[in-house]
Each structure stands twice: as C-alpha cells, then as structure tokens.
C-alpha cells in the first residue's frame, strides 16, 4: 500500500533530483505468431532533467519501440523503466493514461491533429482529459498557441494551416498540460528543411527553459541541434555521445534563404515566435 501511495505521489508531484528517465536492461519481444521479434535487447539509458536527447537509428533499429515505451504506450517485456522515479510497469491503465496526460507531451511525424477541429480545440484536448474547467482550458490553450506563434490562428482548421504551422499546433498541444518531458517522434519528417530548422528552434528555446526533450530522428543534421545523440542499432544502444559544437537553430535560420519572400507566415516565425517562447516557457516552468 505504501509503495502505491508513493507512486501516486510521484505522479502528482514529480520527484525533484531524480533522473527524468531511467531505463535499466530493457528487453522487448514481439510475438508475431511463428516468428519472435526481439526489438530491444538490453537497453540502459538515463536522462537527467533539462537534457535534449536525439535518438537516431535506421528503421528496425528499435528506436520507435523504445520511444513508444518511453511514452507509456507500450510496456517493456523485461527490465525496468522509471519515469521520475516511478516504475511504470507497476501502474494500471488508468494511471498510465494520467501519466501520458500530465507528464508527457507527444509530437508526431504526421502532426496527428484532429481534422475539422480548430487549432484551439486541438490544443485544448489534453486539458479536457485532465478535467480542467472550461475557462482554464481555454486560457491555457491560448497561452501555448501564442507561445508557438499561432495566436492569430486559433480558429483555423488544420487544413487551413501549413505543415510547419500544424506541427506548431501539435507542439502547443504537447505543452498545454505542462509536461516534464516532450517526446517527439520524427517531428521534422514531413517538413522541408527550413521549416524543420524552425521547429528545432522552438525545441531549443523550450529546452533552454529547462524542458527535457527526447527526439527521434534519422536525419543527422536535425539530431545535431540536440545536446546528446543516442544511436540505436539492432535493438541496442551503439553510441551515446554529447554534441560538441551544437548549432543554434536561430542562427542557422538567418543564413537560410527565405523560401518564399511573399510568405508572410515565415517572417512571422522570426519576429513573433522566438521571443515569446523564451519568456512564456520560463514562466510556465516556474509555475510547474
């Protein structure tokens, strides 16, 4: 009983000082009838608060499986996964849903916004499951949308937004419940290179305010914006190293040519989005 209450306490309060993610000798098997797939073969990884980790690897390397496990969408077959000191394996489905809702923010490759639902309503969604009241829901959704530079696009549907804007809505949605970790699965996979750098700039800014970010990508030039790169191959970690000369996305953006001079939205990212991100997330983090 005591351990359970401890678990619940951790869900609510978090555990200061502990690593955000602690993975010990994790294995994952998939039973596909005749064949047995050994997707993870003994993974050990510790991620401290404030880290920005890029996970790389070719397809089939186990990085997606690992990401799903970090995101509490999947459980390890064996080994231990501690999220802020909480052993995820001990939690029931409802508690896992609560962790996904409160502790984790997801950003996907395909944006995964609800179509025919406005940007504001998309961002509001996690707060709905957090059972916040309506006023708080809307206030928070507005706040994070302004943070990613979409304060004037609240009532737009995903189909009316560019890919970069859609991904920023997705980021806003991931941030709205003030998570401890942002998990991004190939967030730039569907974007052109300039927009990709813009997204990395948002991530770097968020990370500067103390948000832990784990990013899966197979593009080395995207991974270099992170502080640390972990390379997966055949279900194991092959390389784990710090990025030596980390480029600042904001600087890189200045050197990139504007793709379309007439596209006012792109200019807006440079002018509006960058500054608010720094300020707003700082306050956000304090509030947490």
């Amino acid at each position: 009983m005591a351990t359970l209450t401890q678990v619940e306490m951790n869900i609510v309060n978090g555990n200061a000082g502990l690593p955000v993610i602690q993975v010990e000798d994790v294995h994952k098997y998939y039973d596909l009838g005749e064949t047995k797939v050994h997707a993870l073969r003994g993974v050990n990884l510790t991620i401290e608060p404030g880290e920005f980790v890029a996970i790389m690897g070719s397809s089939g390397s186990g990085k997606s499986t690992f990401m799903n496990m970090l995101g509490c969408l999947d459980k390890p077959s064996s080994g231990k996964y501690l999220l802020e000191g909480t052993n995820v394996a001990q939690l029931d489905k409802k508690q896992l849903a609560e962790i996904r809702n409160r502790k984790l923010g997801f950003v996907f490759q395909g944006f995964n916004l609800l179509s025919r639902t406005t940007a504001l309503e998309n961002v509001e969604l996690p707060t709905l499951y957090a059972r916040l009241d309506k006023a708080a829901r809307q206030a928070r959704a507005r706040e994070v949308l302004e943070m990613v530079g979409l304060g004037d696009r609240l009532d737009h549907f995903p189909s009316q937004l560019s890919g970069g804007q859609q991904q920023r809505v997705a980021i806003a949605r991931a941030l709205v419940n003030r998570p401890a970790i942002l998990l991004a699965d190939e967030p730039t996979g569907n974007l052109d290179s300039r927009t990709s750098v813009e997204i990395m700039q948002i991530f770097q800014t968020l990370n500067d305010t103390g948000l832990t970010i784990v990013l899966v990508t197979h593009e080395p030039d995207i991974a270099q914006y992170a502080k640390r790169i972990v390379v997966f191959r055949d279900g194991k970690i092959r390389r784990d190293e710090l990025v030596k000369q980390r480029p600042r996305a904001a600087e890189v953006l200045k050197t990139l040519p504007q793709v379309d001079e007439n596209d006012a939205e792109l200019a807006e990212i440079n002018d509006v989005a960058v500054l608010p991100v720094t300020i707003e997330t700082a306050t956000l983090n304090e509030a947490r």
Partner: protein, 405 residues
C-alpha cells in the same frame, strides 16, 4: 471529461456526417413512431371497449333465471319460474354491497301511433333500471315508483322506436297503442347505438314491471334481475352473497344446481379489456422489432465510425484519454443518435396518429406512458447497440491506432 464537453464532442462528430447520421436515426425514428402510433391505435380500441362496457352500467350484476332438470330433461336457461319480484326486494334488503336492483321481464309487441306501427321488445322494469344502466333521457323522464305500484299505462321509448313512430316530432305526452292498450309516453332515451355484439340497444320500450305482468303477459315471474354493486371490488362479494341468498330463497338443496345464474359484468369487462390489451401488446412488439432493427443500424454505423476514426482514437489515447473516456465518447454518440431519433420519432408517431384519426376515423389515444417508454427504450437501444463499438474503440492499441492510415 465533463458531461457537457462529451455531449458537445458527440454532437460535433455526428454533424460532420449529417446524411449518415440522419439515415441512421431514421431506423429509430420509424421504430419509435411505429410504437407510438400502434400503441395509440391499440389503446384507442381499448378505450372504446371500456366505454361500451361502461355503457352497460356501473358495476352491474346480472341475475337471470336459469335452467332446471325435470326428469332428465334440462329445459334451458330462462325457463324457470322461480325468480320473482320478492327476490329483488330481498337482494336490496339483505345484500349490503348492492346499492340498487331492478327486475326485468319482456315480451314483444306491436306499437301503433297515428298511421305508423312498429314491432319491438317490451321490457317491464322499475325506475332504478335506468339508474343502474346509467342511461340518460333525451326528453321527458322515467316512470315513477307510483306508476309501478299502480300498474300505470306509461312507457319509455328507445330512440329507434321514437324515430319510427314519431319521426322528428316530440312524443312525450302522446298516447300510443301497445298491443291492445293505450299507453302514455313519459320519456325518450338518448340513443346509445349498437351494443358490443351489434344489437340495436335503442330498439326497445320500457313499461312498469307490474303493468307488463298484469296487463300484457299475465305472468308473475321474472326473466332477470339487474343489480348494481357499490364498487367494482364489492361486486365480486355481492355476486357470492346473491348466489347463496337466492339458493336459500329458492330452497335449493346442497348438491343441486342453481335455478338461476349470476353474471358479473366486471368479468366481461375484464375479458374484453384483456383481449384489447393483448392486441396492443402484439402491435407494440411488432413495432418494437423495428426499433431493434434501428438499433442494429446504429451499431453498424458506429463500427464504421470507429474504424474510420482509429487514428483519432490513437491520438486521444496518446494524449491521455483513459479507456473510459473513449468509451464514454463513442457511447454518447450512439445515445445522442438514438435519443434524437427517439424525439423525432415521437413527433412522427404523434403526427401519424393524428392523421390516422382524421383520415380513417379511428379512435387513437396517445399515451404519455408510451412516449416515455419510447424515449427510455430508444436510449437503452443506443447504450446497448453502442456499447460494443465503443468498447472496441476503447480497447484499441494506441501504437497500432496511430500507425493506422
């Protein structure tokens, strides 16, 4: 998620596919409409039967002279001569639950007025008769107790007789010939129409019982006694009391058959009521089947919807929806569908009931119970047929769901 947010999301999702939602609802609309219309028709018929029974009088007990076995020959009912005027007095005196009683005997006779004549049944009775049967007068009044005492030549006409002898003119105070005797018309009954078995209840005249016995038939026995109990429950007790009392008075030994029969019209009413209830139930259950078919339509569409929205479900689970959140979301969609269909179906049922009443002239009763039952049942249909698709949605594997194209 709070209730209003769930409802809002459900309505939003349903309005995205307006045509599909409407067609799905149509099953429920027709089902509920059919239930309400058919129950209306059934209850209308039931009401009509009850009205007819009420027209027979209130809590009426009918005692008729019975058969007797004479040396092995059973002479048939109405043949005994043991039921007499004193029995009426005795019943009134000794059976406390009986509030009124009147004798009855009859014959048929030719009636003549002016240049018109008509053959009809003549019933001899007492003034209480009209009170027991709850009959009203169109003109004049019933004859009096004095008329009975003095065997007066007075007559009350049924509406058909009046029509045949007098046409449009007022018969009250006129004198007609009944057989060979002159009779003064004192009252005319209101038309009552056909009885439940198609008899013309208005083709009848009524004279004091004593007049009939002494001046027309010359017989002093009765064919029946009609009595009224103080309440319907009391009528069953009264039936038993009358039976034992009459057995005593007629000196019937134990083991011997009654020489009279006592019928409680409540029994008849109950029987008729039951048969129309069965009809209503039958109609409603046929309509209920269409409601279930409508429910299957909802289940079908919800299954399609869950498959279509697999990705959406994956997203919702990934951002923190619990199984019960997803379950409630899809369940509320099917319930909104079925309840909206139910409400439109009520309107449809009411409108078609009114149309049937107007066009076919049927008597239709729209009962509030049927309306409430239809709403509750359609809601239950929504929950029942929506549960399986909703559970399917809630149990989706989020990883698979997010990969779904």
């Amino acid at each position: 998620m709070d209730f209003i947010a769930i409802l809002r999301i459900a309505v939003q999702a349903l309005t995205r596919n307006k045509m599909r939602s409407l067609l799905t609802m149509l099953g429920i609309i027709i089902g509920v409409g059919a239930v309400i219309a058919t129950v209306g028709v059934g209850q209308g018929a039931q009401q009509q039967v009850q009205d007819q029974i009420a027209a027979m009088g209130t809590n009426v007990i009918f005692i008729s002279s019975g058969t007797v076995n004479r040396g092995g020959v059973r002479v048939g009912s109405g043949a005994t001569k043991t039921l007499i005027n004193e029995d009426v007095q005795a019943i009134l005196r000794e059976v406390p639950t009986i509030s009124a009683a009147a004798p009855g005997a009859g014959t048929s006779a030719q009636l003549v007025f002016d240049n018109q004549n008509w053959n009809t049944r003549v019933t001899g009775t007492e003034p209480q008769y009209f009170q027991i049967r709850d009959w009203n007068f169109a003109g004049g009044a019933d004859f009096t107790g004095d008329d009975v005492t003095h065997s007066a030549n007075v007559v009350v006409l049924g509406a058909t007789v009046k029509q045949n002898l007098f046409g449009g003119s007022d018969p009250v105070g006129q004198t007609i010939r009944l057989g060979n005797l002159p009779f003064q018309v004192v009252g005319v009954l209101q038309a009552k129409g056909q009885s439940g078995i198609g008899q013309d209840q208005d083709d009848m005249v009524y004279v004091p019982i004593t007049t009939l016995q002494k001046k027309i038939t010359g017989q002093d026995w009765l064919q029946y006694i009609i009595a009224s109990a103080s309440s319907q429950p009391a009528s069953y007790a009264a039936q038993d009391q009358i039976t034992s009392q009459l057995r005593d008075r007629h000196r019937i030994r134990q083991g011997q058959d009654d020489d009279f029969s006592v019928r409680n019209l409540a029994d008849v009413a109950e029987l008729a009521d039951q048969s129309s209830k069965i009809m209503t139930l039958l109609l409603a259950s046929i309509a209920g089947v269409s409601l279930i078919v409508g429910g299957i339509g909802i289940m079908n569409i919800m299954l399609v919807s869950v498959t279509e929205r697999t990705r959406e479900i994956g997203i919702r689970i990934a951002i923190g929806a619990t199984e019960s959140d997803v379950l409630r979301q899809f369940l509320s969609e099917s319930v909104v569908l079925s309840v909206a269909g139910g409400i439109v179906g009520i309107l449809f049922g009411v409108v078609s009931s009114i149309t049937i009443t107007k066009v076919l002239g049927w008597h239709i009763l729209i009962s509030s119970i049927a309306v409430v039952a239809a709403v509750v049942f359609s809601m239950a249909v929504g929950v029942f047929f929506g549960y399986y698709p909703a559970r399917k949605a809630a149990r989706l594997d989020p990883i698979e769901a997010l990969r779904f194209e």
